[in-house]
């Protein structure tokens, strides 16, 4: 627009790539993709904050027994003395918050909300990571095969993806969890349920990542370095593993980071609908489900699990966005 001066001003602050290449003699040679990305990520404070929160959450989840031992009570232990016997509500302000019970207590049985949120992190993160891993594995394999070989293989896999994408996932999960027998492949109770949830979320989400990988592969396989490898006599497995996969690493990594929060929400939704991890194990979604019934008289009950989900999902999304910007600035 009519601001030539400002425009000039902006050009003066050259884009980072230019600066990097121009200044510093060492910078010109031998910077790997990872180094470039890291230097970009380092300057994205929002993404870094997200990353730190994620690391913090992972540490808390792993060290849950220790954290709870220091700051709380066993997550399934009842504290009737903290609850009014007639109204079932926590005694004291803010849902019974005190130095002893940092986030207050649950109505009816007085379980420590702090401990339950901390243990809930274990379940949420475990399921989200495992499910994401499953989707990424399946999606990458199918996507690469589909994109690289093309033809009827591509047609079959692409239609398969369409079918999966059209699948009413939530309904399927509800039905599957309801119809599951008591014991499958030696798994029972809690672990069986975790396995089912991981399977449902992971197995039905692979086409999203599969499509991205397929698209990337389609364009990569026409590139000169692939032609060169092929003319030197490389076979398909070698090309797939050594030429294509490293170039696919960036989009896969970015997409995984963005898939994790979706999966956390999905697990919460399943628990919210009552088909998640069985009681009395604490999960964020399950706690939120119970809390909604009490919002009129004990609104504080909603905050700990609700905020936990909110912060975690936000952190993963911010970090994922930053990572994408760092790895692929043109992909915005």
């Amino acid at each position: 627009m009519t601001a030539p001066l400002e425009t000039t001003g902006k050009t003066a602050e050259a884009p980072p790539e230019v600066t990097l290449q121009g200044a510093g003699k060492k910078a010109i040679e031998g910077r790997s993709l990872g180094q470039i990305a890291w230097s970009r990520l380092r300057r994205d404070r929002v993404a870094l904050a997200g990353g730190f929160i994620i690391i913090f959450l992972i540490i808390v989840a792993i060290a849950a027994p220790l954290v709870v031992k220091l700051l709380g009570h066993p997550p399934n232990e009842f504290h009737y003395e903290k609850v009014d016997a007639n109204t079932s509500l926590p005694i004291g302000p803010l849902g019974g918050v005190s130095w002893d019970f940092l986030f207050g207590v649950e109505p009816i049985n007085g379980r420590d909300l702090f401990s339950r949120v901390v243990y809930g992190a274990q379940v949420s993160l475990l399921i989200a990571f495992l499910a994401t891993l499953l989707s990424v594995l399946l999606g990458t394999i199918m996507g690469v095969i589909s994109g690289y070989f093309g033809g009827w293989v591509d047609a079959v896999i692409s239609r398969l993806m369409d079918i999966f994408l059209a699948f009413p996932l939530l309904l399927f999960a509800l039905a599957l969890v309801g119809a599951m027998p008591d014991e499958v492949l030696g798994l029972r109770g809690y672990w069986l349920r975790v396995a089912i949830i991981v399977f449902v979320i992971g197995f039905f989400n692979w086409p999203y990542i599969g499509r991205i990988v397929r698209g990337q592969t389609l364009s990569l396989r026409e590139r000169e370095f692939v032609d060169a490898a092929r003319s030197l006599g490389a076979r398909s497995p070698y090309i797939l593993a050594k030429e294509l996969l490293p170039n696919l690493a960036a989009p896969i990594l970015v997409y995984s980071t963005l898939l994790i929060p979706t999966n956390i929400l999905f697990e919460a939704a399943l628990s919210f609908l009552g088909v998640g991890v069985p009681a009395p194990t604490a999960t964020w979604g399950g706690m939120l489900n119970t809390a909604t019934k009490w919002y009129q008289v004990d609104p504080w009950f909603m905050f700990p699990p609700g905020l936990a989900i909110f912060i975690t999902v936000l952190a993963f999304n911010l970090f994922g966005d930053g990572l994408r910007d760092a790895l692929d600035p043109r992909g915005r």
Binding site: Y80, V83, S88, I108, A279, K293, V297, D298
Partner: protein
């Protein structure tokens, strides 16, 4: 059992009150000046008595009736409401508290006259009773109404008591028989237009309770449209259908053919000119509208939701409009004796001693949700007695020492593992299962919780014998409400081994020939005073053998908006009486 209309997730809505209908209020019953709002003013008392007619009485239902057809309904609130348009042979008296347990003649001139062996019962209809179109009611119509209700393929919802007790000789109802004159239906004789003679297959001293069932309300054979009859039931009561949009709402207006002179005993008041019922309304919305006065009665009678309950009890302004109603309902947990080690009575007793009875009460909302149950029959059932064999009074938090001793005798000194099942939608049952798990853990009994959908809980899961055995559901959380206020109405369906089927059970566990024999003895006993102790003995036997772990005798909190008149809780239905209410 009369099914309570508890929608999914609403299980908490079970109730409230510091003192409940049994105790507290020293009301002098009816009359007097009882028009100042006060907590529990509608318990054992007529609150705001009035004879003023007119106005519109507004009901709302959080779900839908199973059917409006009197021959096809099993909800308690429906049996209460149906009396506005259908008159059965006898009915419960419209009176506050325990006075409502009395059966009084409605269509009939008097209660049934039994033969000495209690196998033949005779009723005589009153003179001058007419349908809404002016045609007189004949005994043949009552016979037809009962005949059609026998056919559970067409009218699926109602109870099966007539199928069980009438001497049917293979008769399957007028829809299958295709003969509207019912020649083959010899179990009921109609020698003239006003007399009905019932022939039973076995003695049944409490037959008047069957004559109370809504399915005895007359249906003219010519007007019967089978499953469509519910769209326009031909009224004999004070109101008739004006407009009926199934699943949405219906309205009723006065039935000018109803003559109060033919109805001297029941206590119907018929005050409002109009009745409106809205269906499938959100329960939270109903609670709000009751408090704002936009609605008069929550028809399902299960009381307000848990959170509304806490809100009302915390606010004196709201609390004065609330009544706490005791229920003829027991929440309990059933053992499965086919799951080891519960085949051993000592392991069952170990559980009975170990559980924290106070904690289990908290699962249902504490004292506002009921009281600790020591035995199966709730105090509201006339003649019932408290039988405290497992120290509920002395050690309400459980007796760990006794429990360990029993475990020793059972040969499981270090405890064992088992499963606890509950109905997934019911928060209170989930809380019960969690509380059981906590207390049993203290004596080394490790448990896993299993949630199953409530709609199929009896048919496919806990109430299916081989499923329960295979999945080792040692403890099954459940509950039971009385069909009518006497021992048979409460105990028969949960203790008689002859009602046990492969699936869809209500009796989950009791298979004891001694108890069966005692039930037969009670059925043949015509003297009420002699009959009641037999039911108490059966209850005691159940407790001695530790077949069930009773947890809570239920209570719930009802809200009575300011403009309602003649409000009181009837023990027969454990909710407000729907035939006496008026509006200011």
């Amino acid at each position: 059992m009369r099914v309570t209309a508890i929608a999914a997730g609403l299980a908490f809505a079970m109730s409230l009150s510091a003192c409940g209908s049994g105790g507290g209020d020293d009301g002098d019953g009816g009359g007097g000046d009882n028009a100042t709002p006060k907590y529990n003013a509608g318990v054992n008392n007529v609150f705001n008595p009035s004879d003023k007619k007119g106005g519109t009485l507004k009901f709302a239902n959080d779900s839908d009736f199973d059917s409006l057809d009197p021959g096809d309904t099993y909800y308690g609130y429906s049996w209460n409401f149906v009396r506005n348009y259908a008159r059965s042979l006898v009915t419960f008296k419209s009176a506050p508290g325990a006075k409502s347990n009395e059966l009084v003649p409605d269509l009939a001139e008097s209660l049934g006259k039994p033969s000495t062996d209690a196998k033949t019962w005779t009723y005589k209809l009153r003179e001058g009773i007419k349908y809404e179109d002016g045609t007189p009611v004949k005994s043949e119509d009552v016979k037809y109404a009962i005949a059609r209700s026998l056919d559970k393929d067409v009218l699926v919802n109602g109870p099966t008591y007539f199928n069980d007790f009438l001497d049917l000789k293979g008769y399957a109802g007028p829809y299958k028989d295709k003969d509207k004159t019912m020649k083959k239906f010899t179990a009921i004789e109609t020698p003239d237009d006003r007399t009905l003679i019932f022939h039973l297959i076995k003695p049944f001293s409490g037959f008047d309770y069957l004559a109370m069932l809504p399915s005895t309300a007359p249906v003219p054979a010519a007007k019967d449209t089978g499953t469509k009859y519910k769209e326009h039931v031909i009224s004999t009561g004070p109101y008739k259908f004006e407009k009926n949009e199934l699943g949405k709402q219906f309205t009723m207006v006065r039935n000018d053919q109803y003559d109060p002179k033919t109805d001297p005993d029941t206590g119907r008041k018929a005050l409002p000119d109009r009745i409106e019922v809205q269906l499938n309304v959100n329960q939270a919305d109903i609670d709000q509208r009751l408090q704002s006065g936009a609605l008069d009665v929550a028809i399902s009678g299960v009381g307000v939701q848990a959170e509304t309950r806490a809100k009302i009890l915390n606010d004196p302004q709201l609390k004065q409009f609330a009544d706490s109603a005791d229920q003829a309902r027991t929440w309990f947990t059933s053992f499965d004796n086919s799951v080891k080690p519960f085949d051993n009575i000592h392991c069952r007793k170990a559980v009975m001693y170990a559980v924290d009875k106070e904690g289990l009460l908290r699962a249902y909302g504490g004292s506002s949700g009921g009281q600790i149950a020591t035995n199966m029959m709730p105090p509201l059932v006339p003649g019932s007695k408290k039988i405290d064999l497992y120290e509920a009074k002395d050690k309400p938090n459980g007796d760990i020492d006794k429990a360990k001793q029993e475990l020793q005798e059972c040969g499981q000194p270090n405890g064992f593992t088992t499963n606890i099942s509950y109905r997934a939608e019911r928060e209170a049952e989930k809380a019960t299962a969690e509380a059981l798990q906590q207390s049993l853990d203290k004596v080394g009994i490790k448990t896993e919780l299993k949630a199953y959908p409530q709609s199929d809980y009896g048919k496919l899961y806990a109430g299916k014998k081989d499923f329960s055995t295979k999945n080792k559901l040692g403890l099954r959380v459940y509950g039971w409400g009385s069909d009518w206020p006497d021992g048979f109405g409460f105990l028969s369906q949960i203790t008689d081994s002859r009602v046990i089927r492969d699936a869809g059970n209500t009796n989950f566990n009791v298979n004891d020939p001694e108890i069966d024999a005692m039930i037969d003895k009670a059925l043949g006993e015509l003297d009420e005073k002699a009959r009641e102790p037999i039911w108490v003995d059966i209850d005691k036997k159940v407790m001695e053998n530790a077949y069930y772990l009773p947890t809570v005798w239920a209570r719930q909190l009802l809200y009575r908006p300011e403009r309602l008149t003649n409000v009181f809780i009837t023990d027969a239905y454990n909710m407000y009486d729907y035939t006496t209410l008026g509006v200011q």
